[in-house]
Symmetry: C2
Subunit: 96 residues, 2 copies
């Protein structure tokens, strides 16, 4: 998600030798860092009959392991802890 | 999503008068900018009987209008266009 952005200080009056570069990790604003990036849009269509029972937990944080997505593997916990975010899964509950 | 981060250049050898502040809009890495931020974790549990038919389209971009979330309102299109991202919804298909 994040790209390294080399941001130079705009200090024209300071000699070149004194210029510094501030390296900032700046997000390009993408929320999917790595899942199926070769696809133009990652949409998943699941027949209701194929939805795991009794509860299907679907990832909305785009941090689940690629082998688990579109299902949640708990990775949102680490993401939330690291960033202060509050994202979580969608649960489809097939119990009566 | 983004927070204004005041990043000073670390140029101890440059007189104070020449120091500059670089103001960077740096993402804190959060992927949910505004939805139900008072909740510690936004999880949605939907009974399968209440899943809209014939197709329920669920938001995974956290950009849907708050009045529509957890359903997709197409806002992922703008997000993808602006950032080069490739996120899209989860569709639960109740057709036979
Ligand atoms: S791993 Fe993504 S929502 Fe749980
Ligand atoms: S509006 Fe969020 S996935 Fe469509």
């Amino acid at each position: 998600m994040a790209v390294a952005l080399r941001q130079s200080c705009a200090v024209a009056s300071v000699p070149t030798s004194r210029r510094v570069a501030v390296v900032v990790r700046a997000s390009a604003g993408q929320i999917n860092p790595s899942i199926r990036k070769s696809e133009e849009k990652v949409a998943d269509i699941i027949k209701v009959a194929n939805v795991p029972k009794p509860k299907a937990v679907f990832c909305r944080c785009w941090r689940a392991d690629a082998s688990k997505f579109p299902y949640c593997d708990g990775s949102h916990v680490k993401h939330n802890k690291e960033t202060g975010d509050n994202v979580g899964p969608l649960v489809i509950d097939s119990t009566p």
